[in-house]
């Protein structure tokens, strides 16, 4: 199988799993937040849902990088690694802003 077909299938799977699971957490959390059990559990579920959603593209980049490494395509392994580093930069920036709150 070529790297493209392999990659396409794996990426599709990662994206759909990420979006669907996060949607379940968000929906349940949102409904709970307006019910009698509102409070930490509802907030916790929505936060997990949001974090999962934000992690989905990151997981997709990791999947691509692993796949390119497996096929020994060094140029694209490096390119995806750079994108991953940039996303990590986002997390670092987020932590810096968070500490200032």
């Amino acid at each position: 199988m070529s790297v493209e077909t392999d990659l396409e299938q794996r990426i599709g799977r990662v994206l759909i799993i990420g979006v669907r699971t996060s949607a379940v957490f968000l929906a349940v959390g949102l409904v709970l937040s307006f019910s009698a059990v509102a409070g930490p559990i509802a907030d916790w579920m929505m936060t997990i849902g949001l974090l999962m959603l934000m992690a989905t593209p990151v997981a997709r980049v990791v999947t691509s990088m692993v796949e390119y490494l497996r096929y020994r395509d060094w140029t694209f392994s490096i390119l995806t690694a750079i994108v991953l580093l940039e996303l990590c930069g986002g997390v670092v920036a987020a932590l810096v802003f968070h500490r200032r709150l």
Binding site: L15, I16, L53, L87, A93, A94, H98
Partner: protein
């Protein structure tokens, strides 16, 4: 920070649904409608609106890209190359947005909205297509089977530095304003870089997930992302864009495009007015 009430959540759920339907039928993403609604109608600061909108962009990008598996419309290699630039742009945009003046952001939004309006009315689908499957697509080009004709479409990518620059700007604007940025990438890829419109749109939609994630993470860290409102918007947009895709038929009617342009110009005017107050 807006006070979260059940009514506000329901309003945002409805607004997200509508933005999702409009975004998917017009093929320009829902953020361009959602952000002005949240700021101009609901009176939220643009940062809070952008944070909510960015999370919906991640959802839409992921769902749409997963749905295209097997069509070969997404050019993964081109996408991975351009992502290096777009992620850098959105990282930078996410950081500068935290320091930028509210009114400056509103003015930038107005300018971008006018540009989107103009490009919607005048959007030209430049035929970059080389028929046949025996040509050399180069390192970044690709080929796919066109749905209507059943013929193989092949293309080469030209002017990669320009595509990288456009992706950087798109990433930047995306993080600053909470929109996807496809409105910048798609016309550039199509008009100057040799990519057929369909492939340009699919590849851009694929990249936007990474662009929006870099920005959304920063907004989340800076405490501007309200979880329950984001949840409502994400679920709304998800439902809306699924419905929109079912309705199908990418609106090509000229009158609809003109109507859209009028709405965008009005939004731009209101944003500008607000920024001057």
């Amino acid at each position: 920070m807006p006070v979260v009430t059940p009514i506000l959540v329901l309003i945002i759920l409805a607004a997200g649904t509508l933005a999702g339907v409009l975004g998917s039928t017009l093929g320009i993403g829902g953020g361009i409608f959602l952000v002005p609604f949240l700021t101009l109608v609901m009176g939220m600061p643009i940062g809070v609106a952008a944070a909510i909108s960015l999370t919906t962009v991640i959802g839409t990008s992921s769902t749409v890209s997963a749905g295209r598996t097997g069509s070969h419309l997404i050019n993964y290699r081109l996408g991975m190359v351009l992502e290096v630039a777009t992620a850098a742009g959105s990282l930078l945009g996410g950081i500068t947005a935290q320091h930028m003046n509210q009114h400056t952001l509103e003015r930038i939004f107005a300018v971008v909205t006018v540009a989107v309006g103009i490009s919607t009315v005048t959007r030209l689908n430049k035929r970059n297509i080389v028929k046949g499957d025996d040509i050399d697509c180069g390192r970044l080009g690709s080929r796919y089977v066109e749905e209507e004709s059943g013929g193989v479409v092949s293309y080469r990518v030209k002017r990669v530095p320009l595509a990288l620059f456009a992706s950087f700007v798109a990433g930047n604007v995306s993080s600053l304003l909470g929109i996807g940025g496809g409105v910048i990438k798609v016309p550039v890829l199509n008009a100057w870089c040799g990519v057929p419109l369909r492939a340009a749109a699919a590849t851009s939609a694929f990249m936007i997930g990474v662009t929006a994630a870099a920005g959304a993470i920063i907004y989340y860290g800076s405490g501007q992302l309200v979880p329950s409102l984001a949840a409502a918007a994400i679920l709304g947009v998800h439902a809306g864009s699924t419905a929109g895709m079912r309705i199908g038929s990418r609106a090509s009617a000229r009158s609809l495009k003109v109507l859209l342009a009028v709405v965008l110009f009005a939004v731009a005017g209101l944003m500008l007015f607000r920024s001057l107050q």
